[in-house]
Amino acid sequence: MASIRIPTPLRPYAGGTAEVVVSGTTVDEALKDLIAQHPELEQHLFNNGELRSFVNIFLGEEDIRHLDGRETAIEEDTELLIIPSIAGGRA
């Protein structure tokens, strides 16, 4: 089963977990399974069915935007990363 790494800011909406095991053969199916398991994440990742523009999904080192987007094929051992916008540092 593939897995999706949940960044700290989104963990409260994923039951506090850092990694969620998902089923599917594409990034899209994996994300849909993620949402099915943790419905609260949906509004943070999607807007009218589209991935929000500040949500970056990486397969290994590559942004899926530079692969086949949500149709990018994934393997059993694929780990997807969600890279969040974070802004802290000065305070």
């Binding site: 960044p7 590559e62 802004a87 540092g89 305070a91």
Partner: protein
């Protein structure tokens, strides 16, 4: 990589004291006298003298960066000292730039420290950045990060970026001369309220020590022109798993600032662009703050003293209840659980909602209004305001 053009390093002299001071650099062929002269000739501007700026500035000073500019308008607070190690107990209450300058000059009196006790704005950013070779982004909010990025792109200067949240950090070099910019990775900011600030979300105090130090290494490499800079890559650090990962960043041909198709050719209103103010908030950025019905802590105290019947609802997280608590609170329901507990909140009673400083409670007030409640108010300033105004024995955090 594109070589950084440092103004005339050959004209820079190193004194005998400096040669002794920098001996561990001078004996390395990658630095040597020529490299140390470059470091002395270099001008680096740090935006922010907080968690990231602290280790960054100390290491840049120790390394002999000749001119260091620092931009900050804050004063040192006790709650800074858990991570902002350039400041100290003796400088609490002083402007951060003065406190930082004192520490920098104590480490290395050869440095020319230029201080700017102002917030960075669209009006002053280009002028402030212009004299510097490298800009280091150690800010704490989205509007200022987009501002730093766009100003660097417009001036064609490298932006050494670092960012932290709780246990996670990000580092990258956004060099518009050769690689992608911040906007290629993050074209738009998240909506207000989605990402809490460090002031509310917290940050492991040691984490900025790691990320700010990595930024300092990238600055020194850029000046010396050695190694592989973090251009076109972002380093991700997870302190809990003790794991570094690297991801690839690519130039987005549709980026709005800079070549090839600029649609933004001057600095814009970044607070408007991000929908939030350009300073770290002591609350979750909330659209609802200042909009929903509200009461002051003094009004709440008067209601309690006169024996009025109302629900006083604390919507902070359970671990915050241990830090401070208002004894008259009738309900403790964390913001994220409010919809599950509506049954405990009678619509026929007055409800006053509070959190740490008023942001989360404003959101809950909005939620309750949206669910048919009419007698609900947000307590402005939260429990911290209560502590400073009504109950001075309570700690603030």
């Amino acid at each position: 990589m594109s070589i950084l053009e440092i103004a005339d390093p050959q004209a820079v002299e190193l004194s005998n004291e400096e040669i002794s001071r920098y001996s561990r650099h001078l004996i390395m062929p990658e630095v040597g006298m020529a490299g140390q002269r470059k470091l002395k000739a270099a001008k680096v501007l740090a935006v922010g003298t907080g968690g990231l700026g602290s280790p960054l500035l100390m290491y840049l000073a120790a390394a002999g960066i000749g001119t260091i500019g620092i931009v900050d308008y804050d004063v040192v607070d006790e709650s800074n000292l858990q991570r902002q190690v350039i400041h100290g107990t003796s400088t609490v209450g002083q402007p951060k730039i003065e406190s930082a300058k004192r520490r920098i000059l104590d480490l290395n009196p050869n440095i020319d420290v230029v201080t700017y006790n102002v917030p960075l704005t669209s009006e002053n950013a280009l002028e402030l950045f212009e004299p510097y070779d490298i800009i280091v982004d150690g800010t704490d909010n989205f509007p200022t990060r987009y501002l730093v990025n766009d100003a660097c792109v417009l001036l064609n200067k490298p932006n050494v970026y670092g960012s932290i949240f709780r246990f996670e950090g990000q580092v990258a070099v956004f060099d518009p001369r050769t690689g992608p910019s911040y906007r290629c990775m993050f074209p738009e900011p998240p909506p207000p309220g989605l990402v809490p600030s460090c002031a509310e979300g917290g940050v492991l105090g040691v984490l900025p020590g790691v990320i700010g130090t990595l930024q300092a290494i990238e600055v020194v490499k850029l000046v010396l022109g050695i190694g592989e800079p973090l251009v076109g890559r972002m380093l991700l650090f997870d302190a809990l798993d003790m794991e570094f990962r690297e991801i690839k960043l690519r130039r987005n041909p549709n980026w709005p600032v800079g070549e090839p198709h600029p649609t933004v050719t001057e600095l814009i209103d970044y607070e408007d662009f991000c929908g939030m103010p350009g300073h770290d908030r002591s609350a979750f950025a909330s659209d609802n703050e200042g909009v929903v019905p509200a009461v002051t802590v003094t009004q709440v105290k008067e209601k309690l003293d006169s024996g009025e019947d109302f629900i006083l609802l604390d919507v902070r997280d359970p671990h915050e209840w241990e830090i401070s608590d208002i004894s008259a609170a009738t309900h403790h329901i964390p913001k994220g659980k409010i919809l599950e507990h509506l049954g405990e909140l009678a619509q026929t009673r007055d409800i006053i909602v509070y959190c740490k400083s008023g942001g989360r409670s404003a959101d809950v007030t909005r939620t309750l209004l949206d669910h048919g409640y009419t007698r609900v108010h947000n307590m402005l300033g939260g429990i911290n305001k209560w502590a400073t105004t009504i109950e001075p024995d309570l700690p603030t955090y």
